[in-house]
């Protein structure tokens, strides 16, 4: 009969906490930058410029139809042959941004397309500039509409970020790999880490729903 031994895991718990903190930093940074990428790409996709649209389409389709692990191998091992050498942590961030950008673009495009034409026309009639129309009339309600999809995409991003341990970035999963090679308590280490990921995803979805209630209090009218 196997005897579970969680002692060495809790002895190294500070390592795991540091890893968890990097996972959170990495995910939040990737979402922030990825969101900007998404908004730019979504604006490009809904613009009338055909070559730009095709380019963005290729980006989205390639990213959404290949595994994240292969993307991160390509960025970390493949790009140095083009002269672009990244540290594991920055390769991880780049890969997560590129990945989130593709999914985010589709989400935000759906939000933009949910805005009725009359709204934009009303904005033009009020003499708003193109940028003002994009910002206040299109983006603000569009972001509200897609808020639930964006937040679940963020949680998915955070869980996916565990894969960056494969290039030995310093995230939670990698901290776990280190701890299990020191203690040989593999199962116990991964149980604890899995619970930590679960706590983080439940925590973030709670935070997001609190934000939703606070930020989107004004009534939704059509």
């Amino acid at each position: 009969m196997y005897h579970f031994n969680f002692e060495p895991v809790f002895a190294g718990f500070d390592q795991l906490l540091i890893g968890a903190w990097l996972t959170i930093q990495l995910s939040v940074a990737a979402m922030m930058i990825g969101l900007i990428v998404s908004i730019i790409c979504a604006a490009g996709k809904t613009s009338g410029i055909a070559p730009l649209r095709w380019l963005i389409d290729v980006y989205i389709e390639v990213i959404r139809n290949t595994p994240f692990l292969v993307q991160i191998f390509f960025i970390f091992f493949g790009l140095p042959s083009l002269g672009l050498r990244l540290t594991p942590n920055s390769a991880a961030l780049v890969a997560l941004v590129v990945n989130f950008g593709a999914y985010g673009t589709e989400i935000i495009r759906a939000g933009i397309e949910s805005i009725q034409k009359g709204q934009v026309e009303a904005g033009t009639a009020l003499g708003l500039s193109k940028l003002q129309i994009f910002r206040y009339i299109i983006m603000k309600p569009a972001l509200r509409t897609v808020y639930p999809s964006l937040t679940s995409q963020f949680i998915y991003l955070m869980l996916t970020s565990s894969v960056v341990s494969a290039i030995s970035a310093d995230d939670l999963a990698a901290a776990g790999n280190n701890l299990q090679s020191q203690t040989f308590a593999s199962f116990e280490v991964y149980i604890v880490i899995t619970i930590m990921y679960l706590v983080m995803s439940i925590g973030f979805s709670t935070i997001f729903s609190v934000i939703e209630k606070a930020a989107f209090k004004y009534p939704l009218s059509r």
Binding site: E61, T66, L69, V70, G78, L159, V163, F187, Y190, T194
Partner: protein, 220 residues
Amino acid sequence: MPLIRPFGFNEFWIIVLAAQWTIALSAIAFAGGGIGGLLIALLRVSDTKWPRLIATGFIRVFQGTPLLMQLFLVFFGMNIFGFAINPWLAATVALTLHASAFLGEIWRGCIEAVPSGQREAATALGLRYYNRMRYIILPQASKIAVAPTVGFLVQLIKGTSLAAIIGFTELTRQGQIINNATFSPFLVFSTVAAIYFVLCWPLSVLARRMELRFSRATAR
């Protein structure tokens, strides 16, 4: 033989052939996940409280933790419960459980999307749970389910790449091995990515078409 060999047609072909293991792993996990997913979905919409709670917990845990950790836990857990460490079996079991949770949640949504009048009418006709599900609810729910299920299959195929990390030689792992021998990561991982794209993209397009056709057919 030289230590580093060039990336030629043979190396390319070895990677292409490794895709059969990716396909096999995806197919088994999808089939197993289909059975498990149906069970989870039915528990999730059950009339009694406990099955519903168990199914919800199962879905929460699998959707709230990384697939990589699920793979590790099954991989190391099997050793603890007396099985030999076997990446192939561990990957199959972990991906099947993962697929069960996700398909269960997708199909729950589809079952609940069937208008409640259908269920009420079936009950009024005297149909019990089994017959109601079998003849009234599931046939209608399955039509709604086709597009998102194909969409999930794409996610599952991509997910099988993580089996490489526990040492199962499928497409990604074969790419790593060839990369270690040829040291041309740019070519190797482009090839690997291209093969995944060839597998996944047609399914993505299919899912999108079906979704569009379905939303047109049901538009009022």
